[in-house]
Chain length 347, copies 2
DNA sequence: AAGCATAATTGGAACGTTCCAATACTGTCA
DNA sequence: TGACAGTATTGGAACGTTCCAATTATGCTT
């Protein structure tokens, strides 16, 4: 049993043929006679041969390892979990396997991961960059010809392909929705200005306010980690502002859920006493109580698209960076409540 | 730039030394002079050398690829997401990378994944077997000497290491808790009898009822997928039973959340009108409304333990299967409500 | 039956590393 | 100075595959 592993030579011997022929059938070449092919396949089955992809990759020019790397920030956030599942689906059915790791928003760990994946010869990488990532962090990778898709979070200045949702459009719609309900003091909660998504999303928010003739009050734009805990923190600070907001657009759903938690802890009912809208439309947004009004981006679909984009780039090795923006759609549920009386006063 | 990759020979030439010496410093050998080591490291940096782990693995006896495989059922379930994060933590800091994929409860896809990972030469596997997995499905893997840790879901008859939570103990405590609140009609919701966890968890439930002198009513044990959707389905059927249950122990938290959804859809408030307790204590159990009473298993810790167990087995290649059971703890929150009047009648 | 095109097969070299045994350097001591 | 013990370094061979050019087998045409 501990007889060193079965190699292509063993099965060549068993099938009475040369290793080259075996290699040909492994690659599905059409120029090997039906009968020999069968004999070889039988031997493969009998001897319990397992293909050594490492050896193959080593020999092959262009090192097509059939491995792709995926780095996200936080698998625990179901946005990223679903994104990963979407990627997994298309990648699996293309015969690839994925290294999947989270860098926990830590650029150093991110670099280590990239390095490690590179040593293993990944043939492509999908990454949601951690806060504070520089475009130059991917330079080595890119110049070695490995296709990279930057997903979800923009990375200004990168030559890699990017797959972003229409962030500004989304928050603009969300803000307009709150405005139409009569809100005038609307906060923006979560995120930090060193991540590009933050800029894009606050951009849409500012635009909508400006268009409505409302002065943006920077006191209402509150930085906090983009997690549930960050949401709790943010709403706490928002409610401490002298002239309290009555509604909030949140950086993402995780923050929005935290905001709801924080409101309840203060005996305020989200949807009734304070309107909140999220961003992402993660799976539990629909079933949470109150159901979350949010900007839907279909994370799983986004994962599928990212993977497709990467595979396309791997196969046609003309690695021309492509920038794709995916559409979003405001989904109104309960957490934004109904129109408030401010509006009636205006009518 | 497209100058084929930089190899150990290139840096040997640059440092005026032989490839063997370079290899030695790559492996951190102590028997190379300080000065030469520095010269070599400098060359490595200057030429932008990246280690080819595939080639190394090919040569090395025992094929220590520094890759481990992880297969879970559903990354979207935060129990598994956290488990994966736990694994990731220890695996990363041991210098490994992980293939992480979900098999979506599909044994065929699971086999494909195992095959694919094997071709890539994983040096170990952590798996939460899909429903209907046979112990024999891992035979090939095991006999090729690759350590396997079966986590979360038991697989009777396997020779691999197993890491299970104290399932029966947990559901027994959960059921006793509901009994102590006065419930007498207690359902068990979710899961199927072809998964070992189901047997173990219903076992604890049955024991508790029996000990309390209550006849187990099989009508109240309801099979359904172990997902949020499955929970919705299960509670629907439970409430259709002639003599309605007043409480339920659920297979896991995902099911429990689904049960809460289903109750609300029928204008019943979980915690007040119907008591529900989950299993897992996923991260949102604490913050959900109502907060979920559940059996805490610390999924992330379990992931860490699984990874540690696997690494131990990889390093000491005496692959003696080890069976570890991790303790659980009932966490009483809101979803199980307070004592109901049935109890007062009895008092 | 010879010639020829095509189909099927094959032997080595190569991929980038590690391992092993062997060699080349040190310096020390008689 | 020559022998000796370390210490540092080194050339191949090997890992399991694919690629290439070359060979052999097959069938068809005249």
């Amino acid at each position: 049993m501990a007889e060193g592993r079965v190699t292509v030579i063993d099965i060549a011997r068993a099938a009475g043929v040369s290793k080259s022929t075996v290699s040909l059938v492994l690659q599905g070449s059409s120029s090997v006679k039906e009968e020999t092919r069968n004999r070889i396949n039988a031997a493969i089955r009998d001897l319990g041969y397992v293909y050594n992809r490492g050896a193959a990759t080593l020999r092959q020019t262009g090192s097509r390892s059939k491995i792709i790397g995926v780095i996200v920030n936080d698998l625990t956030n179901s946005f990223f979990a679903e994104l990963a599942v979407g990627i997994d689906m298309v990648v699996q059915s293309a015969g690839y396997v994925q290294f999947l790791s989270s860098c926990a928003e830590n650029p150093d760990r991110q670099q280590e991961l990239i390095g490690s994946m590179r040593e293993h010869g990944i043939s492509g990488l999908i990454i949601c960059p951690a806060r504070g990532t520089q475009a130059s962090d991917f330079k080595a990778l890119e110049s070695s010809g490995i296709p990279v898709v930057v997903a979800v979070r923009n990375l200004p200045g990168t030559k890699a392909s990017t797959l972003m949702s229409a962030n500004a459009v989304g928050t603009r719609a969300a803000t307009q929705h709150l405005l139409s309900l009569g809100h005038r003091r609307i906060a923006f909660l979560g995120g930090f200005s060193d991540m590009a998504v933050f800029d894009e999303r606050t951009g849409g928010y500012r635009d909508a306010l400006r268009e409505a003739g409302i002065q943006v009050d920077d006191e209402l734009v509150i930085n906090a980690p983009s997690s549930r805990a960050g949401g709790v923190e943010a709403i706490g600070r928002a409610l401490a502002v002298a002239e309290r907001p009555t509604a909030a657009v949140c950086l993402n759903d995780a923050v929005a859920f935290g905001v709801c938690d924080g409101l309840r802890a203060r005996r305020l009912e989200p949807g009734a006493d304070f309107a909140v809208v999220g961003f992402d439309d993660v799976i539990e947004a629909k079933t949470a109580v109150p159901a979350l009004t949010t900007v839907s981006v279909d994370p799983q679909g986004m994962g599928r698209r990212a993977a497709t984009l990467l595979l396309k780039q791997i196969n046609s090795n003309s690695s021309e960076g492509e920038a794709v923006t995916t559409a979003v759609r405001l989904v109104v549920r309960e957490s934004s409540g109904k129109a408030i009386n401010v509006r009636q006063e205006m009518a």
